[in-house]
């Protein structure tokens, strides 16, 4: 039986006391352990940010990429070796700011991977600036007079752009989060989980109490995750209501299934020796 320790490196986590990452980290490891996925079968591609410093803390194939670019690297990994379980892991800044285009296009592609976004509504590694999901009017170091922009809606964006698994978890609910991450990993296709995350150091607005007044479980609200209209409705509620659970899940062919070259074996297993192009070159006559 695998357990959390099998995915834990010797590097001591460097997050602040009370950080939501201290819950997301074990939940992710438990999900992998409970699914029986051995550490060497997991490639986890991280962004840059507080959450992505987790790249050091996991014992698996961990790739600490650059800000906003976890998804492209993860896509390359998946297409090179689709036998691996691929998880891309980012914060709300990298995912919805710098890397927004990759997010939208990964949803469209329905590539088979899990995308975990630690959404603390703030840039925390740079010590507290507004993020795309910060609430309108919020005062931060980069918006001392209040945010003018409307906050970004990741759940609705994922649903309308073709993601086949869209869920929201809450860092203060470890069992619920573990279950959602498990289902995301098991899902065949692009599985996106927005994780509402506490940042007690810098985010004094979106606190545990603030969330507790707003979150509700979709499973207890009679939600049908196979119903597109219900999913969009749940994703576009006013911010007083924050759904937890799977908003939307359908089954569609994955990106890799559309590539004939991958039907027999992972690309990395193909021999590169003795490729004969003689006949093809003759057509240039």
């Amino acid at each position: 039986m695998l357990n959390q320790k099998d995915y834990t490196s010797s590097y001591t986590p460097t997050w602040c006391p009370g950080c939501g990452n201290f819950s997301i980290y074990p939940a992710t490891k438990m999900a992998l352990a409970q699914l029986g996925i051995e550490p060497h079968r997991v490639a986890m591609v991280f962004d840059i940010g507080c959450s992505s410093n987790g790249s050091n803390f996991y014992h698996l194939y961990s790739f600490h990429s650059i800000h906003g670019r976890a998804l492209p690297v993860a896509e390359g990994v998946k297409l090179a070796n689709h036998s691996l379980h691929v998880i891309a892991d980012s914060g709300d800044g990298g995912a919805y700011g710098e890397g927004i285009s990759h997010f939208v296009h990964s949803c469209r592609s329905n590539i088979d991977m899990t995308y975990l976004v630690h959404d603390n509504h703030l840039y925390s590694l740079t010590k507290g600036q507004a993020s795309p999901t910060s609430n309108r009017g919020m005062k931060t170091k980069s918006t001392p007079y209040g945010i003018i922009d409307q906050s970004f809606n990741p759940l609705a964006t994922a649903i309308i752009n073709g993601a086949t698994f869209v869920a929201q978890a809450f860092s203060a609910d470890i069992p619920g989060m573990t279950e959602i991450i498990k289902q995301a990993i098991q899902h065949r296709g692009f599985a996106f989980v927005n994780i509402l995350q506490l940042c007690p150091t810098f985010n004094k607005i979106n606190t545990l109490d603030w969330y507790k007044q707003r979150v509700y479980k979709l499973s207890e609200a009679g939600h049908d995750s196979g119903n597109y209209t219900q999913a969009v409705t749940a994703a576009t509620q006013p911010s007083e209501k924050l759904p937890l659970g799977i908003l939307y899940q359908i089954h569609k062919p994955t990106y890799e299934e559309g590539i004939p070259s991958l039907s027999q074996m992972p690309l990395v297993q193909r021999s590169v020796d003795r490729i004969d192009i003689t006949e093809s070159l003759k057509t240039y006559n």
């Binding site: 840059i48 790249s55 990429s65 670019r69 990994v77 004939p260 590169v272 490729i275």
Partner: protein, 580 residues
Amino acid sequence: MDENNFNWKIGGEAGYGILSIGAMFSRAMLRAGQCVFDYAEYPSLIRGGHNTYEVSVSPKPVYAVRRPIHVLVALNQQAVDRHVDELADDAFILFNTDNAKVGEGVCKPSQTVIGIPFEELALKSGAERVSRNTVALGASFGILGAGMQLAKEVIELNFSLKKKDAQVAVVNVAAAQAGYDFVKKQLKKPGRYSLRIQSKPGRIILAGNDALAWGAIKAGCNFFSAYPMTPATSILHTFAAQAPKYNLVVKHTEDEISAIGCAIGAGYCGVRSMTATSGGGFALMTESLGMAGMVEVPVVIVESMRPGPSTGMPTWTGQEDLKFILSASQSEFPRIVMAPGDVEQSYQYIQSAFNLAEKYQSPVVVIMDKYISASHKSVDPSDLKNIKIERGQVVTENELADSPDYLRYVDTADGVSPRALPGMKGGMHVANSDEHNERGFSEEDAAERARMMDKRYKKQAAMAKEIPAPEIEGESHAELTLITWGSTRGAIQEAVAMLRDQGHKINFLQIAYVSPFPAEKVKDVFKHAKKVAIVENNKTGQLAGWLREQTGLSPDFKILKYDGRPFFAHELVATIKELL
């Protein structure tokens, strides 16, 4: 009679099918057993603007496009006005009487001017007006007096490749025949420039991008991700078309950042991966280029240059990105930068690029430009050299089981740390863009930082030892030694030969591996050269600057051109003669 030795050019509006008919003419000449080099000029437009295509034909290898023009087909007035100065004294000018005229005194009495109603002939043949270009092809064959068979062949080939209805080819052949007959009737005496069809010696015709793409496929590159950008786009087209046959994964990504990110992800997994772009796209890739350097992931990046800055002149040529490529991305890390100089080198060097990328776990940038990427050259397939595949050091699962404490970035004598690939039991590690220790964990300790920087730079020293030194080509005891890089090679080869015929001894050094720089060899060349001139397609002499940085030496002269056009051999000859 100048048999099988002539330069043909066609000009007209964008949308007239100039590029398509030019490529067909090139192919017909190849099938006539001749050597060919072609060059097209066109603006970054789909309709309107002026397009040209020129083809230099000879029984012996042609290394660059040649001037003057012996046969000009002018499909509109601009094609007459703009190119009349490029003509040989005994040139033939076929102009379009439907929309152009050649005024009195425009051409020399020694030149032959034939007015042809291209569009009228197209319509009369049952084709549409757009078939004026196939009428032009037939008319050109009329001048060359070689019969219509090859023209017919390439027309049929063209429409079958485009999967057009058979009837389209039939009416186009008729249109070409009409052009051919018209010229035959008009021509008072046999043409001075003629084509004699010879048995085909098995040559093929490739653009630099074709050769590069096939070299990559041959080298086992089976992952290609890119975003279209002229003049690199045709590499994407070749890869995409060949994906099912050669089991390739080809991804047209949302942008260049994703293109290189995907290629890095695939390279990290142990697949030979590549991306291709031009300067603007490469600018977007630079942060990820540094990531590949830091994480030590093999990846090949093709940068086919065009004149800038910014959008610049998208469909023209230049060598303006060298310094940018050499220093792209923040900080310092070893990289390999190479610049093939012709079609054969494009095929060969791209294979080396994959070996070097994997051996040194490093990004390799292969520099092309519009001229080499898009110009077609006839080549003998036996001159397309295959390089032995070397995959670099990768550990096995057995080795990992025997020594459980795997260090991904272990400090070794040559700085190369054997890779564990994702999926291998026991090889888990952090592939880290943060500075890291041997294990891959983020590390900011002063001594460790310096040690890892030194480790990466040991690879640079090892690369420098492996990379072949450039060789002097041309005459020994030369009056002048030219130093160059990239596509300029062809015009220099032509110029050196022309100068030799005029009694001048010139030689040249093409620096194909620009980084690590072959400093010792270049110093030696300077020591033995009477005079040195650098030839570059840019404003500031970027190779000259890099050479000086690496050797402390400066050339006696810089021959620079930065008008968006390649060097022409006759221009080089004139410039060089002034220097002698």
